[in-house]
Structures are given as structure tokens and as C-alpha cells.
């Protein structure tokens, strides 16, 4: 088989994804593509997103039809250099067999998510990959481990990836007994203890970034590096209206415009994403937990803990990634650490930069954690 | 008041009289005012039956609940509902017990344990079973009293409620105010077995008939029943034989009554006279004491009527409010 022939397949975003709907071709047949070009748009039960090209060449075949649903890894199109003969392409397409859905294989029959009991309550997490190099993904305020939908799989190339639901979030227990960065950072360390991780690269998004910083400052031996994505803790500005609105929103109507602020492209916020957040928010105790955390960390529209100074002094290896059009925490905070960090501000991305520009973020993180 | 042979303190005797007098004057006055055409809709007057409501309610506090009937003014007053608010309600005014949205047949004050007069005959019986059940769950020793007439005693809801109360041993007293007429139809005609006490027997609960025009008879019998129910002794039925001095509703020509029946009852069976004579004869109070109360009540009713007439009507927006607690 010609190694230059590269399939475009239905991606697997997140543990629960088994199929996706092809909602648009972003390139015509015959178009030249480079790595990172957006090729197709896919809608899952979680989100709409684009699939970027992993190879350079020409879009030789368009196989997937707009509006149709395909299983994960199904062949959607083919990219190959111009010099590959048509017959070879046809043979490739004819021979392509969609790998059996991993969900159905025996080792995946176990629950998709796991739970572990800690002094901070029962915490849910996901785990992918293996090896001693551990990456721990920490979501932000009001988020959950599915915020790493487009990252977990890719990052597992570098080792073992854990993503957890913080206390009061996702499907973890809805108890935040002390709404402080210290308490939340202790919860993260307790989680590492519980799953037997001595030290990890912490990747934190938004509030999760501030928690990672706190953990690195409190327990430097447990933190190998920091990746701070659209992170809190680097300056005092934060979108207070968003925080307040998010805590109070009780209906789809109220929530949707808020969630749209998280993305550069508001069209990414589909019905299911809003529903999932609503379902979380309606659970008893969530509103109280969020209100407490918001009160503790983001009182009156200001961040109460700015750790930039301490972090700079600590000399920890830090990667900072930001979405240029972040409407929650200004992208200006990206430069707070100056030369003490690697910094990249991505255009065409908002606060959920790890979702909107997943490919680039994954590259940056992989590079950072394998240093 | 040196000699008081009654099982009520002197204060309570006077309180009972004041209550009965207030009910009587309230109703007599409505009779007059209604005829003038100032009162919307229709009213059912309780005059004549005062001893029944009062004799029972003297044993109750705000934790005890009552479910009343279409003829509910007497029950309301005896249970402590504010007379000014009642009068305003009957006039359909914003200052009424129900802000003018209920009217004569729906006066309620849950804070006083008055769960509402009721335009649906017999409908209070299941409600009061629920009130009694709530008291049992809360352990507050509250008792529920449901009033109904000889007519509503034939409603299935009442009979079903008796069964429920007996089966669950609820602290409920079923009070039949038997004035002999279901609207215009006689008990004899409408009721296969004319005794309401027999209904109680059918559900294995004690039933007692008393002269409902004799405050002391009602008071003592009700007291025993209520105490028994409060202690967990179960439900009971009290039939009070009473006479209503007016028609079923105001404007009723009462041609179904025997000639002279109202006059006979007013002359010989007036619970206020009977009460006053008995208390005075025993030397527990003087006619002067009663006269003072009569004056005081008369001015209360005067004031209530004047303020009700002068009170504001509900504002138009009230039409749409309070359908739900949360919209």
C-alpha cells in the first residue's frame, strides 16, 4: 500500500463517541491541502467541530456525503500527492475496512468513565494511554473532563493521560467545602495519590490553570511542568458577567448565549452541548458549589488570586496557550510571565481554545511535555 | 361572678357569648344589607345555628383545622377570622379575607386553621382528613373538624371520608349540622335512613346527637370527642340538631317550611336566649354583662359594614394574580 495515500476518517472525539455526522466539506475535490487545513466539519452528540488535515497533498476523493452519519474511523475522503495514480486510489478505497468500534472490543467493555474515592469526595476521571510520563488535564470553572474531548486521545501519544472532574463539577461529588485554590489544588493532589501518580505534567484550562499553578507552588515535586490554557491566576480581569450568568442560568435560552461567549465561532455551540451543561447545572448542589467557587475565586468580577509573581519566581517550566478572541479572560494575560514561559496566542479561537484549535494545542502540549 | 357552675371560666363564657352574638348580628345585618342590593351574588346565612359553631370551636386552637360549608360565616367567626375582613370579602372588596376573589362561599384563613367555606357540598370532608393526616405526621396533636349539612351528608365524598378516617384512625370530627332541610328538600324525603348517627355506626365510629341549639350540650359533647381524637382515640360524628332562622339563601321565600316554624324557633329555640338565661339563672353573669357585649358587637358590625362599603374594589391586575405560587 502506498504510504503517501492518507485517509480522512470520522474522528473519535471523546470516550463516548461512536459515530458522527458529516456536516460539510470545507475543500473541493482536487484542492491542495497542507497539514492543519480544515477539511471537513463533523457534528457529534457533543459538539460541532472541524477535522484538520494531518497530511499535505491533494484532496483526491470525497467519499462521505453531507448530512450522513458515519461510524468512528469510517473513510470519509482521501488525500494523496498528485503523482499517485487514480487506480491506486481506487484500490485503497476499495480495500479500506473501517476498524471495529473500540467501544465494542473487550477491553473497552468496561465503563467509559471511572470513579475514585478521595477525601474530596468521589471523583470521576478518564484515562487513556500508558507509560510513566503522566499528563493530567484539569478543566475550568463549570467545565468537566469532556472539555478535553479533542485532546485526550492525541495526548496519549506522550504517555498516560488522565482527565478528572473537579469536585462540584461533572459527575464528581457536588461538594466544595472550601472554595479556594488551595482546597482545589489539594483535591488534584489527592486525586494523583488515589490513582497512584507520583508526578505529572499538569495541563490546566482557565480556573484549572490557576489550580495547576497552585499545585505546582505547593507541591513542586509532584508537578513536572505546567501548561496554562486561557488560564486564570495570571491577572485580575475576568468576565464577571459570564461567571454570574453561568451560575444563574437555568434554561437553554439563558445558557446558550453565555456558552457562545466561550468560542470564537458561536456556531460550535449546538443543542447537545447546551443540554449537557444544563443537565449538569440542574443537579442538586451544583448551583451552590458554583456560587461558592465563583464567590471564592472570582468575586465581583475580579480574580482573587493572581499567582503570576510567585510562579515566575519558582522557575517551573510553563507553556501558555491562549485564544486570541478569548472573551472570558483577556488574551493579554498570556504575556504576564514574559520570557519565563513559552507563549502562543492562537488566532480564530476563543476561551475554549483546546477545542477550537485542538490540533495546534495538542502539538504544543506534546512538544512541551516531551522536553 | 362568684358562682360559676359551668365547665368554662367566666371569661370563656363571655367569649362564647360574644362569638355567638357576633355571628348572629353579622348574619342579621347581612340579611338587611343584602335586601338593599349592595352585596353581589348570594349569601347563605348561619343565624340560628351559632351554638353549634361556637360550642365546638371553643375547644380548638389555630393548629386545629376546620373545613366549612357554603353556610360558613359562623364557622369563620368562631374560628377567629377577622370580622372586618369577612365583611369586606362579602362585599367583594380588596380588603377582604380573600382580597375580594373568593366571596361569601370561599372565605378562608389558613393561619387560623380555617380551610375555607366551600361551595361544593361535602367537599371539605376529604380535605380535613388530609389536614388530620398532616397533623399526625407532624405530631402536633391537631384535630380536624369538617362541617356539613343534612343534605351533604348524602355525598359520596363524605361517606368515603368517614371510611378513610375510620380506617386510618384519623383525628377527625364529622359534624352534621342538621337543620332539617337540604336547600328546600326535607331530610325525610332525601335520606334513606334518616339518622346521620347511623352513618357513623356503619363505619364503626361513635356517633352522638345533641341539641345544637344548646351551647352547653354541644360544648361538652364536642369536648369529649375532640379530646378523644386528639389523644389518638379516632374519629367520631356529632350530629347537631339546629334550626336555621333564614332561608337556604337570601331571597328564599321558605314556602317549604311549616307555617310559623321560624317564629317558633326564634321564640323557643334561640341559642343565645337559652345561653343567656342559663348563665344568668346560675348567677354566673348578669343581664347587664350581656347587654354590654351586645353593644360592643353591634358597634363592631356597624364598623365592619361601613368600612366594607367604603373599601376599595380590587384592582384590575388582581384578575390575573395568584393563580399559581410560581409561574
Amino acid at each position: 500500500m502506498n504510504p503517501n495515500i492518507v485517509p480522512i476518517v470520522m474522528p473519535k472525539w471523546g470516550l463516548s463517541m461512536s459515530e458522527g455526522k458529516l456536516t460539510g466539506w470545507l475543500k473541493p475535490v482536487g484542492a491542495g491541502v497542507v497539514v492543519g487545513d480544515e477539511i471537513i466539519e463533523v457534528e457529534t452528540d457533543k459538539i460541532v467541530n472541524v477535522v484538520e488535515s494531518s497530511a499535505a497533498g491533494t484532496l483526491r476523493r470525497i467519499i462521505g456525503e453531507n448530512g450522513k452519519v458515519y461510524p468512528v474511523k469510517a473513510l470519509i475522503g482521501v488525500i494523496a500527492p498528485d503523482d499517485v495514480p487514480e487506480a491506486e486510489i481506487d484500490a485503497f478505497v476499495a480495500d479500506y475496512a473501517t476498524p471495529a468500534s473500540e467501544d465494542k472490543s473487550s477491553d473497552e467493555a468496561a465503563p467509559r468513565y471511572e470513579f475514585v474515592d478521595t477525601a474530596f469526595g468521589r471523583l470521576r476521571y478518564a484515562k487513556r494511554g500508558e507509560g510513566d510520563n503522566v499528563i493530567l488535564l484539569i478543566h475550568g470553572f463549570g467545565g468537566d473532563l469532556d472539555n478535553w474531548l479533542f485532546n485526550i486521545e492525541a495526548l496519549s501519544a506522550a504517555g498516560t493521560v488522565y482527565a478528572l472532574d473537579l469536585p462540584g463539577h461533572g459527575q464528581s461529588d457536588k461538594v466544595v467545602s472550601e472554595p479556594s485554590l488551595n482546597w482545589l489544588a489539594s483535591a488534584v493532589v489527592a486525586f494523583m495519590d488515589a490513582v497512584g501518580v507520583q508526578a505529572a505534567h499538569l495541563v490546566g484550562h482557565s480556573m484549572g490553570g490557576a489550580i495547576s499553578m497552585r499545585a505546582a507552588l505547593d507541591q513542586p515535586a509532584r508537578v513536572k511542568s505546567l501548561t496554562l490554557i486561557g488560564s486564570a491566576g495570571l491577572g485580575s480581569e475576568i468576565n464577571g458577567d459570564y461567571i454570574e450568568g453561568f451560575v444563574g442560568a437555568a434554561s437553554r435560552r439563558e445558557l446558550k448565549p453565555l456558552l457562545e461567549q466561550l468560542f470564537d465561532d458561536p456556531a460550535l455551540v449546538n443543542r447537545q452541548l447546551v443540554d449537557d451543561v444544563l443537565k449538569y447545572k440542574r443537579i442538586d448542589g451544583v448551583e451552590e458549589a458554583l456560587r461558592a467557587v465563583a464567590g471564592g475565586l472570582f468575586r465581583d468580577g475580579r480574580q482573587t488570586s493572581v499567582l503570576a509573581g510567585e510562579l515566575k519566581a519558582s522557575g517551573a517550566p510553563v507553556l501558555i496557550v491562549w485564544g486570541e478572541s478569548d472573551r472570558i479572560i483577556p488574551a493579554a494575560h498570556a504575556s504576564t510571565l514574559g520570557a519565563a514561559a513559552k507563549t502562543e496566542v492562537l488566532p480564530g479561537a476563543g476561551h475554549m481554545v483546546q477545542m477550537e484549535k485542538a490540533g495546534r494545542v495538542n502539538e504544543l502540549v506534546l512538544d512541551h511535555v516531551s522536553d | 361572678m362568684s358562682n360559676n357552675p359551668f365547665p368554662l371560666s367566666s371569661e370563656d363564657l363571655m367569649r362564647a357569648y360574644r362569638t355567638m352574638r357576633t355571628i348572629r348580628d353579622f348574619e342579621e345585618r347581612l340579611h338587611v344589607e343584602f335586601a338593599k342590593g349592595d352585596i353581589p351574588g348570594f349569601v347563605h346565612l348561619y343565624a340560628g345555628e351559632e351554638a353549634c359553631a361556637t360550642g365546638i370551636m371553643m375547644h380548638l386552637t389555630d393548629i386545629d383545622r376546620i373545613a366549612s360549608t357554603h353556610r360558613g360565616h359562623g364557622h369563620c367567626i368562631a374560628k377567629g377570622v377577622d370580622v372586618h375582613e369577612m365583611m369586606a370579602e362579602i362585599y367583594g372588596k380588596a380588603t377582604g379575607s380573600c382580597r375580594g376573589k373568593g366571596g361569601s362561599m370561599h372565605i378562608a384563613d389558613l393561619s387560623k386553621g380555617m380551610m375555607g367555606a366551600n361551595g361544593i357540598l361535602g367537599a371539605g370532608a376529604p380535605l380535613i382528613c388530609g389536614a388530620a393526616l398532616a397533623s399526625r405526621f407532624r405530631g402536633d396533636r391537631g384535630v380536624g373538624i369538617t362541617f356539613f349539612g343534612d343534605g351533604a351528608a348524602n355525598q359520596g365524598t363524605v361517606l368515603e371520608s368517614m371510611n378513610l378516617a375510620a380506617a386510618w384512625n384519623l383525628p377527625v370530627i364529622f359534624v352534621v349540622e342538621n337543620n332539617g332541610y337540604a336547600e328546600s328538600t326535607s331530610v325525610e324525603y332525601a335520606t334513606a335512613v334518616d339518622s346521620y348517627v347511623d352513618r357513623a355506626s356503619g363505619f364503626g365510629m361513635p356517633g352522638v346527637t345533641v341539641d345544637g341549639m344548646d351551647f352547653f350540650a354541644v360544648h361538652e359533647a364536642a369536648g369529649e370527642m375532640i379530646a378523644r381524637a386528639r389523644d389518638g382515640g379516632g374519629p367520631a360524628l356529632l350530629e347537631c340538631n339546629v334550626a336555621r332562622f333564614f332561608g337556604h339563601f337570601e331571597g328564599d321565600a321558605q314556602t317549604y317550611k311549616a307555617k310559623g316554624e321560624n317564629d317558633y324557633n326564634r321564640e323557643n329555640r334561640d341559642c343565645l336566649k337559652i345561653f343567656r338565661d342559663r348563665v344568668c339563672d346560675a348567677g354566673a353573669a348578669t343581664r347587664h354583662d350581656f347587654a354590654l357585649i351586645d353593644l360592643e358587637v353591634a358597634s363592631l358590625i356597624d364598623a365592619a359594614v361601613i368600612s366594607a362599603k367604603n373599601a376599595a374594589l380590587p384592582q384590575a391586575r388582581e384578575l390575573l394574580t395568584d393563580v399559581y405560587v410560581a409561574y
Binding site: - | 357552675p5 334518616d194 339518622s195 347511623d198 357513623a200 355506626s201 352522638v208 361538652e220 359533647a221 369529649e224
Partner: protein, 344 residues
């Protein structure tokens, strides 16, 4: 002229507070009407064709008439014709008195009374020389005997028609008379109790701490009520010429305590200070200065310290039909047999 018999069945009887403070039974209207029908059948069997009843609005007569009409439709009716006295109905015990007086005036041969002690007392007070036959509507009472009403109807018919002579069929009864300040006498057929409670309330007696004096015409240890207290101390027969009087006190302070069934299912310790026979004819003034007077277990009168109360046992006060004697006589004389001429 064929005999006429009166029937007084007052639906208001048997509805008092003893259903709550004790376990007194409550004989339903339908059952009482059934008793009336059985009485009537017994009367008819002895040739009584006319029965006059007290009118009431409690459904008793209505129910009885309905039952008789239902039997008539099916062709198996044998009942006297029933008429009603013209009188206003008040729905109180006063109705019984008015009816008894009227029946006595119209010369009925006998009055059958259906009810408890209270109804019998009302009728006895007004029936004059007319004999009465009692049918108990329950076991809550002391005066009327428990008996199948058909047989009472038989016996009453036999006496009313003259088939059984009065010397055989009737027996005299005592009663107790109570007067306040020499006014008209109120009577009691079984007992007069004086209690310290000076109000009538729901009438029945159950607050034993208020019991002070008890006067009984007879005292049977097999019966319940106030007279049971006396019956357990010293029984006195209905035919004995004396009664009994007792001074009572709260059980906690009395020298003697009797566990007495003062109402159905209600057994209470009653303190007794002293007792003695009550001779007939002699007015007695009670010691209690003020209180109320219960006649046959129901508070009926109150009195205060400025009033004089007197109590007197009266012999041969009224006649009742001796059902046992009548039936024995009738059987012995063959009054209820006849030869079947077809078989001769």
C-alpha cells in the same frame, strides 16, 4: 271493639354522649324500624288491628311502613293498620311525653315503648293508668328488659284484648319523684343521682369525682348504669317495697370503693361513704347544697343552695306488662291454639 295499642318509638333516643365516653351501642334506625315491624307482627297475631304511633321525623316510622309495604306487595303481610297521632314533632324527648299523654287519653289498651330508660321515663310520666310494655333498644339501659319484640307484641296484644286478665298480666312499678321548691314532680324509673357539677351539658354522667348522692328504686347487680353502684352494694328487687340511698365520694377519699359499670364498657372506681334503705312514701332532703340532678343517668335539673330538693320513692306508680306471666298464662290456657276443623 277490637283493641287499639299505642307504639312510641322516638328516634332521638340512644344517641347520647355515652357512645364517646363509653362504648354504648348505637342501634341503627333500620334495626329499630325492624323492631317496630316485629312488634306489629306480634300484635297482629293476637288480633290487634289498630295501632297508633307517635309521629317523628327520624325515619323510623317511614322505614317501618316501607318494610310493611314491601311485605304486602309479596302477599305475606299480616300487620295491624297504623295511624299516627296528630301532634307537632319537635325531635326531642318531649315528643314521647306528648304522645303518651294523647294515647292515654284515647284509651289505648297498652303502650309499647321502644327505647332506653329516658324514653320509658317520658312515657311512664304521662301514661297514667295505661300499662306500658318496654322494648329495649340496647343494653345501655336498666329499666326495659331484653326480649324478642315479637313476643312483647304477643303479650301486649293479649293484655290489650282482655284475653289475659290484668291481675295476671300487669305488675306495678316503683318510681322516684324529685321536686325542687315544691314544684312539679320529675320522675326517675331507676335512679336519681346528685352530682356536684351544676350544669347539664351533654347530660350523661361519667365524671365520677362529681358523684355525691344516689337514690335507687331498684338495684340489680346484673344491670349497668348508676344503679349498678347500688346493685353491687345491696341488691333491691323491682318488687321490694323499699329502695336504697347512698352517699358517694371521690374514690381517693372514700372508705369503700366499688368497681361499677356506670356505662357500657365503662367500669370506674366509685367511692361510697354510706348507704341505707330508702323507705317508700317518705320525702328525703339530700345533703348536697348545689349541683345537678340526673334522672336515670341523665342530668336534667340543676339546683342551687337557696333551693330545696326533695326525693321520694313511690310505690305502684305505673303498670307494666309482665310478658313472662302473660305468655305462661296464654300457653297454659291454650289461648294461642285452635283446632284444625278439617282434621276432625
Amino acid at each position: 271493639m277490637p283493641p287499639k295499642v299505642g307504639v312510641i318509638a322516638n328516634p332521638i333516643s340512644g344517641r347520647d354522649i355515652r357512645r364517646v365516653i363509653a362504648k354504648a351501642n348505637s342501634l341503627q334506625i333500620a334495626d329499630r324500624a325492624n323492631i317496630v315491624v316485629r312488634l306489629l307482627a306480634g300484635l297482629a297475631a293476637c288480633g290487634v288491628e289498630d295501632v297508633v304511633m307517635m309521629p317523628e321525623r327520624g325515619g323510623l316510622a317511614g322505614h317501618a311502613l316501607r318494610q310493611m309495604a314491601q311485605s304486602a306487595v309479596r302477599g305475606n303481610a299480616r300487620f295491624p293498620s297504623v295511624s299516627f297521632i296528630e301532634m307537632p314533632v319537635t325531635g326531642t324527648a318531649a315528643d314521647s311525653r306528648i304522645a303518651a299523654k294523647a294515647m292515654s287519653a284515647m284509651d289505648v289498651g297498652a303502650i309499647i315503648v321502644l327505647g332506653g330508660d329516658g324514653t320509658h321515663r317520658a312515657v311512664a310520666a304521662e301514661c297514667g293508668a295505661t300499662p306500658i310494655a318496654g322494648v329495649s333498644t340496647g343494653t345501655n339501659n336498666a329499666f326495659p328488659e331484653i326480649r324478642e319484640p315479637t313476643i312483647t307484641g304477643y303479650a301486649t296484644g293479649l293484655v290489650a284484648s282482655g284475653a289475659v286478665p290484668k291481675e295476671i298480666g300487669l305488675k306495678p312499678n316503683k318510681w322516684l319523684e324529685v321536686r325542687i321548691d315544691g314544684g312539679p314532680a320529675e320522675i326517675a324509673l331507676v335512679d336519681v343521682a346528685l352530682v356536684s357539677q351544676q350544669n347539664l351539658g351533654a347530660r350523661a354522667l361519667w365524671r365520677t369525682e362529681t358523684f355525691r348522692e344516689l337514690y335507687v328504686a331498684f338495684a340489680d347487680p346484673q344491670l349497668i348504669g348508676m344503679s349498678a353502684i347500688a346493685g353491687l352494694i345491696e341488691p333491691v328487687g323491682r318488687d321490694e317495697r323499699h329502695g336504697l340511698m347512698l352517699r358517694l365520694a371521690p374514690a381517693s377519699v372514700a372508705p369503700l370503693v366499688v368497681q361499677a359499670p356506670i356505662a357500657p364498657g365503662l367500669v370506674e372506681p366509685i367511692g361510697v361513704e354510706q348507704w341505707r334503705r330508702l323507705p317508700a312514701g317518705q320525702p328525703i332532703a339530700p345533703d348536697l347544697a348545689a349541683g345537678s340532678i340526673a334522672l336515670d343517668g341523665e342530668r336534667e335539673l340543676t339546683f342551687h343552695s337557696r333551693q330545696n330538693v326533695s326525693i321520694r320513692l313511690v310505690e305502684n306508680a305505673f303498670d307494666t306488662i309482665d310478658v313472662a306471666a302473660v305468655m305462661r298464662f296464654a300457653a297454659t290456657k291454650g289461648l294461642l291454639r285452635e283446632r284444625n276443623k278439617a282434621c276432625v
